[in-house]
């Protein structure tokens, strides 16, 4: 069996669903979990609903020169279990990751084991039934689980970032199966990510970020914003993850509510975290780190803008999350892209 363009234009024929699932395993087309067989009917339906030209290029892997067309993205999205209405998010995420600053190759090939974190903000979250509440990082919700998985399958099948071959991650990352969350608009006391993006009113957007595995930050005890934020800053400044890379902080609704008391703005949260997520350079030097840094106090990131703050999670619980960037400096920079609505024509 070949994998040429001719073969794609002349679809493969399998006897039944189980044979098709087994065939996908045999071809190395899965992430280890069974995939939905990408039948021509399902893929064509997804592409038709999206209004995307099947041959349009959504993303390019600059190192290998491989392009991901809308058709390839749709095939992999079907395999991941996506419904057609999820596809605009997959397409937007791929477009965002294709920006040079995201650095597709480094973040997918590195020993660092980044997983592409996809954060969705705006009305599409409720429109397609994404989960921004309890169990926000998973599992249990189809769009969250399958959108992130579609990205992973594109990396595997289109860009050939194969574990052990071109994906050389030392320990991997469970987020490589899927890492897609939605901003909790009800619990967010500040402007949403899409409102901050400058996209037209009513838009939705996706932010992509090459993320290392997240740190759970527990503080059930402080009722003061400073107490919660100091706990987060302390995790951000741990020796194992203190770099000048970017950060994503996902506040739980409970923590967000405490932090926003007395009118504290999101910018003030970023400034507080940047100011306190630091330690003396001597402490880094003691463990062989710090490189050529000249500053006496080494901060997480280069400025408060390097810390993306959002809100997601269940109403109860003093658990937030910090996700360090894969990049220790600017090897990969998070990107935001508008989500094109599905054409009604």
């Amino acid at each position: 069996m070949t994998t040429t363009r001719e073969a794609r234009n002349q679809p493969l024929e399998l006897d039944d669903e189980m044979s098709a699932i087994a065939y996908c395993y045999q071809q190395g087309w899965t992430d280890g979990l069974p995939v939905v067989p990408p039948t021509t009917a399902l893929v064509d339906e997804m592409l038709e609903a999206s209004g995307e030209d099947p041959e349009s290029i959504l993303a390019t892997h600059t190192t290998t020169g491989r392009h991901c067309s809308a058709h390839s993205a749709a095939v992999n999205s079907v395999m991941a279990g996506c419904l057609p209405e999820y596809f605009p998010i997959v397409a937007a995420a791929l477009r965002a990751m294709s920006h040079r600053e995201y650095n597709y190759h480094g973040s997918t090939a590195s020993t660092g084991g980044a997983a592409p974190l996809v954060i969705v903000s705006g009305p599409i979250v409720d429109a397609i039934g994404m989960n921004s509440g309890v169990n926000t990082f998973g599992s249990g919700n189809r769009p969250n689980a399958t959108i992130g998985r579609a990205i992973r399958l594109v990396h595997l099948n289109v860009f050939k970032m194969v574990p052990g071959v071109t994906d050389r991650s030392t320990q991997g990352n469970p987020g490589k199966y899927s890492l897609c969350i939605a901003e909790n608009s009800q619990a967010n006391p500040w402007a949403s990510l899409v409102e901050e993006s400058g996209f037209p009113s009513g838009s939705s957007c996706v932010t992509v970020y090459a993320a290392s595995a997240f740190h759970n930050i527990e503080n059930h005890y402080s009722s003061e914003g400073d107490g919660v934020l100091m706990t987060i800053a302390d995790s951000m400044a741990s020796l194992g993850s203190l770099t000048h890379g970017q950060s994503v902080v996902v506040l739980s609704p409970e923590h967000a509510s405490i932090v926003a008391q007395n009118g504290r703005t999101k910018l003030q949260v970023q400034e507080f975290l940047f100011a306190h997520a630091q330690r003396p350079i001597e402490e880094l030097r003691k463990v062989g780190k710090g490189g050529k840094a000249k500053e006496e106090q080494f901060h997480r990131g280069l400025s408060p803008d390097d810390i993306l703050v959002t809100v997601a999670g269940g109403e109860a619980g003093g658990h937030s999350a910090f996700l360090p960037s894969w990049s220790r400096m600017r090897g990969s920079v998070m990107q935001t892209e508008i989500i094109k609505p599905i054409s009604k024509d």
Binding site: T3, R5, P11, L14, P38, R66, N103, G106
Partner: protein
Amino acid sequence: MALQLYDPTIDDMEARDTSEAQRLPSLENCTIGLLTNGKVNADILLREVGSLFEQRNNCRVLLEENKGNASRPAPAELLQQIAADVDFMVTAVGD
């Protein structure tokens, strides 16, 4: 009824050419460029390699460049610049 599936992969022929560069007829008396990825020890390794070429093949290390970002491809302009000045280039990945 049989299922018809699309192939989720793309044709390798569509990807960038990664075949070997044309081989030099000889290494003797060549000029060399060294290109590090900027990570720790890459420069040490490269200089040692360059030194061995100088000793064994009477080569000359003409320039040493750093591609600036370990995880990104070397800028095309940098590669073109090096290619214009030397007979061959050696690169190394440190960490």
